[in-house]
Amino acid sequence: METTGHHTCSKRNGRSYILDHAPFFAGFNEKTHRLQFLGAGYYFWDDNIEMATKWGEDHYNNEYCILECKLNMPGGIFLDLVGNRSHMRYFRNVAVKYAESGYAREKWSLGSFIEHLKMLEKDRPGIFPFKVIRAVDLLPRDEHSKWYFVSGKRNYTLLDPRIVICITEKNALILQSKKIVYESL
């Protein structure tokens, strides 16, 4: 599967530096003492230049560039928590395994499980082979994105969801091309 990823970064080091080094790694946030949503890695908005723009305005004081990358997400290393129920079921089962083994971690976030599994993968190849993880980022205020299926019913779907992609390593198989598509003034 392929998609377009948008990555926002500071523009302070210039375009050539960005093209050489971006995307940039997002690790444990010391300031907020929080893990990244999907653990440490290189983050993209899935085909969402609007969110990349908003991110730049909010987090980079309006001094940012947006990098657009062609991302390849091959089976076997792609964990799709957006559009594949079997992948979602797998991850639920991971949490069940912890509980069944007497190591329940009710308070762990998605990012916590991912970080633990990545730690285990170093010594046990195959325990968490995923290099690309994708998930929907939802908030209660996402009203603008709601589309009701039919009138008179409360059932709806989202047509403008925020989808985040985290890749855990930069390689040519996953990151197939990149270009700067926006630079703030």
Partner: protein, 122 residues
């Protein structure tokens, strides 16, 4: 690796293999080692949201930034000790800005799973 085991592993998809390896890890690893590895992640976890993150969430797009700024200390405390909701209610009544109140309450309720109590208090 025996041929039999190789064939069996090849037939397993990545997900089955992952879950099987996770089982093996829990069964075959010294519990103290597992405990240590879990503790590494536990140590990264904090209960409740980071204050500045909440500050941004609740104020985004709503006309109550000044109130939050002047009450930041109280607000930070509330993030971790959401017990004195009556105080919260009084503060918002003084503020008397309904849209801010509703937005704040709905986020707080979702985060702490205390929707009924919060709405009653507010």
């Amino acid at each position: 690796m025996s041929l039999c085991k190789e064939i069996r592993e090849a037939a397993m998809d990545v997900f089955e293999k992952s879950l099987q390896l996770l089982d093996d890890y829990f069964v075959n690893t010294d519990p103290s080692v597992v405990g240590e590895q879990l503790a590494k992640i536990d140590s990264l976890h904090v209960d409740g949201p980071a204050p500045d993150e909440y500050f941004a969430e609740f104020t985004l797009g709503y006309p109550c930034e000044a109130w939050f700024q002047t009450n930041e200390t109280v607000f930070q405390t509330l993030n971790y000790e959401v017990e004195d909701l009556s105080f919260l209610s009084e503060s918002f009544n003084l503020l008397n800005k309904l849209i801010c109140k509703q937005h704040f309450n709905s986020n707080l309720a979702e985060e702490f799973g205390q929707q009924d109590n919060i709405y009653k208090a507010a």
